[in-house]
Amino acid sequence: MPGLFPRRSNLFGTVVVAASIGAISFASIGLGAVVVGETRRIDLGSKAAPGIDSIKSQYKRPATIPFPKENPYTPEKAALGKKLYFDTRLSVSMAQSCASCHSPGFGWGDGLAVGVGHGMAKLGRHSPTIVNAAWGAIFMWDGRLATLEEQALGPIEAAGEMNMPLNQLMDRLGSISEYKPLFAAAFPSEGMSAKTLAKAIATYERTVVSERAPFDAWIEGNEKAISEEAKRGFAVFNGKAMCSACHEGWNFTNDGFQDIGLPSKDIGRGEFVPGVVKMQHAFKTPGLREIERRSPYMHDGSLDTLEAVVEHYDHGGVDRPSRSDLMKPLGLSAQEKADLVAFMKTLTSNLSPTAVPVLPR
């Protein structure tokens, strides 16, 4: 992924030249093998706005968890992955586990503005929840990792986080006798390696799914499951406020990258796609399940409450070239803002408690 745009390419030079010529209107030009023509308006015809039943049908919970062909589910893998997930010996200090920052007690986040890494040093971004990671298209706020297996190893190795070189980790786990049979049961032909460790943790993470919330009961037809206020909020969410343009579907994200105009210096996705204006300050859209338990909010943890988040979107944030074209002042009334918050609170499930596993010695 880091090699996606190794250099800005001559494409950029061309755009600058074109702009200095003036008067020619098109998005950009390519040089060499690909030539981009001008952009024209087309007539899409007028579409009637979809009715409430049609909108609701887009929010049905899936019946099964998707597991990749390369790493199918087995109960042995998930059980091993759970022990590894909660094992502080995965960090060099033996003080942090995956669960330190992605804790079931805080909607699988940490309840802090930004994460805390090795040596109690603050990290640059808010610890994202792992709820519903099984449905993720791409991982990390900046999308730098392609699979949940890669993601599982990222924080373990990162110097600022768990700071644990993988060779050293596998030596350490190899000396804990009770881990050997667990790996052997989960990976009979592969044994114990950083790769199988990642597969086990990813398998466990995929089993962490938000449970049924009042919202789901309403989607399935129980009109009494949520308040009238929340129903109005759902209409604003899909209509006037256009939240659903990005917070799409049952998990409330399409995993897209958007600059939503937060006044932070962090360029996010832009680090990996330097040539693309709209990716500067862009971060992956988080899902909204269990959102009430996941404060503070945003990639930098800069907003304390759901009310503050709604205010931010109503205002539209910092107007800059990278800001998403979907961000603009919304002109929401006090009632509409309150309705949106009421709606988001219907996404909180009655999470059953997560038992911390007994760890191998």
């Binding site: 020619i24 952009t39 087309i42």
Partner: protein, 106 residues
């Protein structure tokens, strides 16, 4: 300077004239490409239509064939001409599930 402008204009109008030919169309409604694999002849263009309700940002990071349409508004279309044979991956920078391959043949 004037010469440069004239040259640039000629080249650019030349390309947009190509838009009149019946290009293969690629649509993006619902954050999905209408086809994941498209085959075209060298020198032909694809017309990328944003018939969705939100902006997309099509681009390619395939070496030698890099391009970037920038933010493409709903209700617009853009022609992209492929001048060299090869397999080119086109993605949307915004939506990571949007990926397609363009096979450019001699």
């Amino acid at each position: 300077m004037h010469k440069t402008i004239a040259f640039a204009l000629v080249v650019l109008t030349g390309f947009s004239a190509g838009a009149l030919a019946a290009n293969q169309m690629v649509y993006q409604k619902g954050r999905v490409f209408s086809s994941e694999n498209v085959s075209i002849k060298k020198g032909d263009a694809l017309t990328f239509v944003n018939d969705d309700s939100i902006p997309h940002n099509l681009m390619s990071a395939t070496k030698g064939s890099e391009f970037n349409l920038g933010s493409q508004a709903p209700g617009t279309s853009t022609d992209v001409t492929f001048k060299e044979a090869g397999d080119i991956q086109v993605i949307c920078a915004i939506h990571p599930r949007m990926k397609m391959m363009v096979k450019v043949t001699d």
